[in-house]
Symmetry: D3
Amino acid sequence: MTDRPFRILAVNSNTDERVTGRVTRAIGDVLPGCHVEGITAGFGPRGIGGRADLTISAMATLSAAVDHPGEHDAIIVACFSDPGLHALREVLDIPVVGIGEASFLTAVQLGARFCVVTVGPRVVPVIEEAVQATGLASRFCGVEIVDTAALQAPDPVPLLLEGVEKAVRGRGAEVAILGGAAFAGLAARVGERSPIPIVGSVEAAAVQALALIHLKAGRPKVGSYARPAVKPMTGLTGRLARLLASEAS
Amino acid sequence: MTDRPFRILAVNSNTDERVTGRVTRAIGDVLPGCHVEGITAGFGPRGIGGRADLTISAMATLSAAVDHPGEHDAIIVACFSDPGLHALREVLDIPVVGIGEASFLTAVQLGARFCVVTVGPRVVPVIEEAVQATGLASRFCGVEIVDTAALQAPDPVPLLLEGVEKAVRGRGAEVAILGGAAFAGLAARVGERSPIPIVGSVEAAAVQALALIHLKAGRPKVGSYARPAVKPMTGLTGRLARLLASEAS
Amino acid sequence: MTDRPFRILAVNSNTDERVTGRVTRAIGDVLPGCHVEGITAGFGPRGIGGRADLTISAMATLSAAVDHPGEHDAIIVACFSDPGLHALREVLDIPVVGIGEASFLTAVQLGARFCVVTVGPRVVPVIEEAVQATGLASRFCGVEIVDTAALQAPDPVPLLLEGVEKAVRGRGAEVAILGGAAFAGLAARVGERSPIPIVGSVEAAAVQALALIHLKAGRPKVGSYARPAVKPMTGLTGRLARLLASEAS
Amino acid sequence: MTDRPFRILAVNSNTDERVTGRVTRAIGDVLPGCHVEGITAGFGPRGIGGRADLTISAMATLSAAVDHPGEHDAIIVACFSDPGLHALREVLDIPVVGIGEASFLTAVQLGARFCVVTVGPRVVPVIEEAVQATGLASRFCGVEIVDTAALQAPDPVPLLLEGVEKAVRGRGAEVAILGGAAFAGLAARVGERSPIPIVGSVEAAAVQALALIHLKAGRPKVGSYARPAVKPMTGLTGRLARLLASEAS
Amino acid sequence: MTDRPFRILAVNSNTDERVTGRVTRAIGDVLPGCHVEGITAGFGPRGIGGRADLTISAMATLSAAVDHPGEHDAIIVACFSDPGLHALREVLDIPVVGIGEASFLTAVQLGARFCVVTVGPRVVPVIEEAVQATGLASRFCGVEIVDTAALQAPDPVPLLLEGVEKAVRGRGAEVAILGGAAFAGLAARVGERSPIPIVGSVEAAAVQALALIHLKAGRPKVGSYARPAVKPMTGLTGRLARLLASEAS
Amino acid sequence: MTDRPFRILAVNSNTDERVTGRVTRAIGDVLPGCHVEGITAGFGPRGIGGRADLTISAMATLSAAVDHPGEHDAIIVACFSDPGLHALREVLDIPVVGIGEASFLTAVQLGARFCVVTVGPRVVPVIEEAVQATGLASRFCGVEIVDTAALQAPDPVPLLLEGVEKAVRGRGAEVAILGGAAFAGLAARVGERSPIPIVGSVEAAAVQALALIHLKAGRPKVGSYARPAVKPMTGLTGRLARLLASEAS
């Protein structure tokens, strides 16, 4: 690590470039000294709404991140379900951070019980599964769903704040995560008026990426995140094929 | 459901057609009255060895299963990590069974604590994560790794049996799952000589598919497995695109 | 196992023969090719309502099942608290399935979180304890109690459906189990109008019995379900005494 | 509660009267001011070795305790698996204590992690299930099995002590429970030479019975331990029938 | 232990001597044959309301208990968060009981699920953390907060009873703990009118102290509660310094 | 936050100033652009070895941190059991990070299962309790104890590395935390030769402090970490008294 600014690559797992822009700006705002580059999934859904979408987006995120040229110090997967996160950790040598996992781990340092505020009741079990996989179910007080209108509103802050306040009263939430790439950049403004700390999920990933860059813990040589063995592999192209396949398709 | 035999589609998530053959035969042996068809992932690794492989295979399994023509009564995902299982449950109207999940759920009906016997220490945490996601960690006594030679041995039964016996002595296992599509068809022979019941993972999926076909519980109209909304989606083709995308790429 | 149809013995743990009839018919409907025989506990409560009832019914179920003559391929314990289930698994050489356990294990293949819909608030903790003993507490979203009137209603379907819908709205249930032998045969009709899959508990036991019959995993020679040592035993009669006792009383 | 000494009834769930004697003496030694009466199950196994034995002994314990005449201040179920404990709590108005549950709850006040030292590997899962049902799995470090010879040895103390020391070294145990009615009265002598506190299971039940007698918390009027409704019930006799049945068989 | 009455020392962790009096009387009422002495923390908050208060009170409780002269048979830490409990267990040779831990362990012997009724929403997570540390989260159905007015009311019984009844209806509570030293002595009166057993926290500690005195399990020589090594230690005085420090400050 | 470098205050909870120096240097090495100040507990043990030590050190840490003048952007509690951490979070307006909690949360981003390598078997349960309180027990594979000689060795790296390798082989550890302030600054050198990522606990706290400083999530106004009410409080002095007490003693 020389004196150049840290370089962070943010991968938007959906195909909506406006979200990519919002994510990139939010990371830059939280980490003013860093160079942040944002890329967009090459295929898949414009907005991720379910389990099939996630399977597709995981593949798209893996491809996009691996194929993108340039040297980076960390990668951020900018989708709240962290599609492709664990695959990328296995394949790459730099820290990879997911906005879901990073928010959970950040939130527990700020209060006893955290909630997630987001849109779309359909994602509730998916988020619960993610919290449990991370290991933090005992610190979690549930998902507070706000109206999907929040995504289109000229100013989503009031709707989000309402969700936060509901979670404080009804769930005893002591920290609230704004769950989703689409809410990038809003945490500070919600936080100003909130009774409890607000963790933006993209913002949390930004600061955890910074943390892991400074930690320089290196990558495992053994275990389930060690570099995968190359093997016969068909249908992949580009750098992903070069990293994983012993023979081209 | 008329009087025709049940039709089961088995999707091998890796690209090794010998495994597809073995899986198809094993299911047919367990369900003699059923018509079993086996298909092979169209791309991805010949053998699944890690987290990136799983991300790729999930996409390949989803595509292969959805695109395959014909009417089936159930689908079996024939890879012990169940790649694409939850996506398929969301997308399709028929029961979808995973050989990992099905073995865990079958095993707990046969003893107090179950273990998994398989090859490759690298997969241990991945299996632990799957057991925990299923919810059965308190019934699980760990993974017993046998030498990878078991996969190539002319007769892998003795090596597998050794693993089972080690798990009985060292872990107090009361049931053993032979974890992986590659072991399809071996459970009966290991079971003959084993002190505890042996659950073949492909065999377990076969019987759970039969169970769900008879149950006819239907598919959810709400919740995280309801049919996904169509949405703008790029880069998909075939029936997957027709099911998920509101506009072709 | 020859070409004769599978023979399933259903043991109603309470002494109400109408329930036995309902259970037997429901199993036959789900497994049309099987021969189903139903027997009724020889003593104990007409309806099982609590912990003392369960202790008595466990003994009655064990006696009834062991003493009943004839060769069967599987036994179903037809009481939602599965009294005597684990004793029977230890004593007998054929698969034994409980309608409680079987429904939990079937339900998790159909959705992210399951609830139980039943009558009588008093049983709530007993069901919670059973789910936890099975290991599936993290997949469980609670018990929805419907009015006991459901048991006497000419058509209990509307009341049950109301319970299901309440559980969907209030608990985020993605699957509902109709818990109890008394509801045998109603799942299909509730399911037709339900937003989520409905698992009848007797029906689930039927299909899990079919699954275990096909699996032929055999019985353990070691561990906590191995055949019990005969020992000095007083006060037992019939086949139970012959199986367990080294000296008659 | 007048000035008469407290009266405690100990029910030995097996039919071995020597064990009843040992249990009664041990309780008397721990509670010198109390009047202790011991009774023996009227039927069932001489020694409880498995799951069917437990089902039978639960019924025998329930009958014996309920039918025994006289006024008592508390009842102790003297079998480490607590057969019939929860039924008795429901049926009777006085505190009922189980030697298994009581030892777990006592042990956690004496150290960070407790183990159980007992005989017979077959019971290991049964004990694990009991600890988990009590809720204390996170405080439990497993069962240490000593040679069954300990039950017949003229002096079992050295064998038990060896088990304790093994659990200290291998499991980090900080407290050891001597699990089983057969070890009644030995804890003090094992404790003298042990590096960690020893909890005799019968002794623990004695002191917890004393605790609950002093507490006078009364019995629930609602919930799963409220007095059971009388109902049509066949085949019961004596006071159990009078308590539970609305009509004689 | 001679024939003299048992001597119990109660340490009030806050500095309010009225609470000390109430605690001492309540213990005496539950244990009429014992000699009960109450002391008050030498410094810290008059009422403990949060995490900093607890840190200070833990130190104050440790000092007060260790420095107090006289031979006792057991010590009760009379603050519902048990400040200093684990330190005292390590330092002293007699049983040390906390009113929080003791109530949880007593309550689970009286019903399936327990709740805590207390004042001040701020303490909810602290209580949840304590239940979880004890290991009993799966038996716990939450904290029911009653109006702080209960602490000043001439008769707090009606307000507490209302909290209990709310917990029965809304949480399915089967036992209720009155959480806090300030409620010492009220359990019997609340219990008279309550549908479920009421466990006073001070009363529970009293009976658990009695239990541990009778058990005579001794203190550990190894493990995390063994007597601490003396070491260089500055700033301590009195008996605490003599027990822990190798050199005076 | 102006353009001045971030100011971090590290509080060594023990009284050994050499450890304070080591901690301060290690933080400075990981965060080269920050201004790091280290202070030492004003009283208590020179090395923290148990539960009483921790109670004393929590008070000492709270006092030292609160009383130290100057404006800081974050505080690090430099003792692996995080004494006083939660009290400080409640009392102060800036982020407070503990080296134990921070390492657990950092480690799970680097591998599937983490272990702690440290000295002194006595601390094992204390560490297990801390991991569980954080919520991460399901990601934890235990404590690997190395010889206490590691603390005095001229070069402790080989002993620590041996512990790491043992944890990889025996526990399947995928990440290792060097647990304790005394190991500050060693992680990089152990990591160079380790098969898995090494997380120094002080280093982890440094990077999490940096993360929270950038996040600017603010402090809660409600809940269990809200600023404590002032109240009658005796025996405190300095700024702690001014923050907490409504009347001086």
